[in-house]
């Protein structure tokens, strides 16, 4: 699992096989199978409680699954296979795997005591062990890419929600991840700030990174995603190109959901 800068721009294949997850008696994921090709953009839609976020969090092992497995470019995430057994990896090894997988949170979770550039440079410095000058150069380039070159010394509190989320995206990209996961990246934003964040995500879609976006922005999903997955009750109800799932849904549940969010 090399993460050299040369091949990092290329996305990785994500395979999700028979994934189950329950919290106590509450089955959140009930057998998810999905293959996301390298460089694809997948939008996951579904009513609240359908397991969207849990699935996303399982991809980088923030959430342990009860059954099944997830792999990125053939490497199991969180486990090592010995014969027919999956042994959970040590925390250290899992942390190393996560470097290939960027995660953008609904509530940004920027580090409030660090400036924008310190937030972005942190992972290159300490997870990849890059020299300081190089980490800051990368961070500066990424802040420029999300349109915040002039905000590098600002603390998160001094930034608007949209700006904070753009810093968070730059932070997730700073380690050249092969996969980037977005957990409702615009749900915590004021309506007028949604556009600037979606613009940044849209620009990434062309860069060849594999992206998975949990979202309620149907228009965005239609425009940017090449696959739309509709989740309900912990199962995939339907998936396919946005034209199919969004315009000609086969299931009544999907139709009902879309009718509600499109109003």
């Amino acid at each position: 699992m090399s993460t050299g800068p040369g091949q990092a721009a290329r996305g990785a294949v994500v395979e999700i096989r028979d994934v189950h997850k329950a919290y106590g008696k509450n089955d959140v994921l009930r057998g998810i199978d999905l293959t996301l090709p390298a460089g694809s953009v997948t939008a996951i839609l579904g009513p609240s409680g359908s397991g969207k976020s849990t699935l996303l969090r399982a991809i980088n092992h923030l959430e342990k699954v009860d059954r099944g497995f997830i792999s990125v470019d053939g490497d199991l995430i969180g486990y090592r296979r010995v014969g027919d057994r999956l042994h959970e990896l040590s925390e250290r090894q899992i942390l190393k795997q996560r470097v290939r997988i960027g995660f953008v949170f609904q509530n940004f979770h920027l580090f409030p005591h660090l400036t924008a550039i310190e937030n972005v440079a942190e992972a290159p410095l300490s997870a990849l062990g890059r020299p300081k000058a190089e980490a800051y150069a990368t961070a500066r380039r990424l802040l420029d890419r999300v349109g915040l070159a002039d905000k590098e010394d600002a603390y998160p509190r001094h930034l608007s929600g949209g700006q904070q989320q753009r810093v968070a995206i730059a932070r997730a990209l700073a380690v050249d991840p092969a996969v980037v996961l977005f957990d409702e990246p615009t749900s915590a934003l004021d309506p007028e700030l949604v556009g600037e964040v979606l613009d940044v995500i849209r620009s990434l879609a062309d860069a060849g990174t594999t992206m998975v976006v949990v979202t309620h922005e149907i228009g965005f999903a239609r425009e940017v995603a090449d696959t739309v997955v509709f989740l309900d009750g912990g199962r995939i109800l339907e998936h396919g190109p946005p034209g199919e799932v969004l315009d000609a849904p086969r299931h009544e549940r999907t139709r009902a959901f879309l009718a509600k969010v499109l109003v």
Binding site: L95, R98, V99, F111, E122, S126, Y155, R171
Partner: protein
């Protein structure tokens, strides 16, 4: 102030209101807002309360200056006296060492309490319970009498053979007993302060650090601890000041710290009040210094928290 006059002159639906009514200002607001002057509310009772307190304070200061019982001459004579200075140094040493050892122990105890291992958790809880239950004074007397409980102490295999034996009396001097007691006592309180600080950090911060793949130690030092410090510092400073004064309790072990020393002096001279004032003023000065340091350190850890 021509605004009211202007208002009277203006034709208004409220013009026929009774002459003492305030209504005329209403049309003024509607029709000539730029003429209005904002008058802040008056607070006469603030002045009354302030004056009353100042009178009481003046009375107290007057008493300090005129009552011969304070014996300021004696106070001045002993304030920088050699034996007092030496005692002050011991108080500072006890405070410093007690704080360092206590907080080191507190960090360990907090880590144990937050660990997943139920045995470690329970032990940490038990420690805090015991050392918060036993009054410092009582605890100190126990340590001073350790030699009575265990004449010798051994290093070796648990329940097995020992390699080296110490005479308890030689191992634990009275200063050692004092430091041990203060540190163990302090560790129990520090543990709770540190634990509260760690819990005050939003769970999303740990998650974000983990999602970025930051190494565990780095997550703690760079991300969690600096944020926990904001919650830890005010309580820690409070505890440190408390410790400074708690050192006076070790006088029972006949250690020449500040309070013990002033007792020695007034036992000899009979000048109780001025010598108690010597100790009091020194404690107050040290507390002021610690508060100053607290303010500086809090400011440093407040980065990014204020606009």
């Amino acid at each position: 102030m021509s605004a009211p006059e202007q208002a009277w002159a203006l034709p208004s639906p409220l013009a026929e209101a009774p002459p003492f009514d305030t209504a005329p200002s209403l049309p003024a607001a509607a029709e000539a807002p730029e003429r209005l002057v904002v008058v802040p509310a008056r607070h006469p009772w603030r002045w009354v309360a302030g004056a009353a307190v100042l009178v009481l304070l003046a009375q107290f200061v007057h008493g300090l200056a005129t009552n011969p019982g304070w014996e300021w001459q004696t106070f001045a004579g002993y304030f920088f006296e050699k034996s007092i200075m030496d005692a002050l140094l011991i108080t500072l040493e006890l405070t410093f060492a007690g704080a360092v050892l206590g907080f080191a122990g507190g960090v360990v105890l907090a880590a144990l309490r937050l660990a997943h291992n139920p045995v470690l958790k329970a032990v940490s809880w038990g420690y805090v319970w015991v050392f918060r239950s036993v009054p410092l004074l009582v605890q100190l007397l126990f340590w001073a009498n350790l030699g009575y409980l265990y004449r010798t102490l051994q290093v070796g295999v648990p329940f097995g053979p020992g390699f080296h034996e110490f005479q308890t009396l030689h191992l634990v001097s009275s200063l050692g007993a004092a430091l041990l007691g203060l540190s163990l006592h302090e560790a129990a309180y520090a543990a709770e302060i540190v634990r509260a600080g760690m819990l005050s950090v939003d769970a999303g911060q740990r998650e974000a650090a983990a999602a970025l793949g930051l190494p565990r130690g780095r997550q703690f030092r760079r991300i969690l601890l600096p944020q926990a410090m904001r919650a830890i510092l005010p309580s820690a400073a409070n505890e440190l000041i408390n410790l400074l004064k708690s050192t006076s309790v070790v006088y029972v072990l006949a250690i020449g710290e500040l309070f013990y020393q002033v007792q020695v002096v007034y036992g000899r001279t009979g000048r109780v009040v001025p010598l108690l004032m010597v100790a009091t003023v020194w404690y107050a000065i040290l507390t002021a210094l610690l508060s100053l340091v607290q303010h500086r350190v809090e400011k440093r850890f407040g980065r990014g928290a204020t606009r």
